[in-house]
Subunit: 141 residues, 2 copies
């Protein structure tokens, strides 16, 4: 049996080779708070009580690093990843307009059978980023 | 300017071809609450105010689906992805013991210069899963 329940996800990661473009998309268009940017390696953003980590997989899958003598495990994926960000139903229309005026195409706009709605866009690396109402998963807000 | 701040990450996704093994790891070893399992497509888990989605990329990157007439965008990555789950410092020793007795090797145990500690393991698909104290990112809990 697990010793304790896990409280939440702390880090959500996606991959992008063009970190400047990712930085503009996540920090600019989506407005996430930028907390770190290391050219050629990563761009990090705060989001609620967690962080969104964008890594260049050419670095993080291949270049070993250590912290206090312990290895930081390698990782890095190719192909389109996915992440959803919580946006209240009432805020989705303004987000749709903002994305379109920012030059971000709406790939799909889904109304879910159980309630809730999702806007799907692509980040500059081709990852599928969804802006979704939390009630899609049964959360009130 | 973004019309509203984004409240949090709602969905964090990783990919695995062996969903039964992923189901055992995330639902059993880590104890996340299983909310959906569709053989050959996905295994979904609740975690705090968000969800962890494990997709078989052979389905989700290739098989178009629609909801109420709108396409659900395709996505699916290969290679090792990454996610961190929030575990308090005081709970990490018991988690380390639980993982080891569950047959999950500790790939690394990192003490961060700014405070906080991370245990790194691999899920059965090879994704890098980190159990990390939230203070690593400046969160109190």
């Amino acid at each position: 049996m697990p010793p304790f329940p896990i409280a939440r996800v702390l880090e959500t990661a996606l991959y992008a080779e063009d970190l400047a473009a990712a930085n503009h998309f996540y920090g600019g268009v989506l407005g996430l708070e930028r907390i770190a940017f290391v050219e050629g390696r990563h761009a990090f953003f705060r989001c609620g009580e967690g962080v969104v980590l964008i890594f260049d997989p050419r670095s993080t899958a291949n270049i070993p690093t250590t912290v206090n003598g312990a290895p930081v495990p390698l990782h890095g994926a190719s192909g389109a990843g996915h992440m959803a960000l919580a946006v209240a139903d009432a805020e989705l229309p303004a987000w749709r307009e903002h994305l379109e005026t920012s030059g971000v195409a709406i790939e799909s706009d889904v109304t879910w059978p159980r309630g809730g709605r999702s806007l799907y866009v692509r980040d500059p690396a081709g990852n599928s980023v969804e802006l979704a109402s939390p009630r899609l998963w049964g959360f009130d807000t």
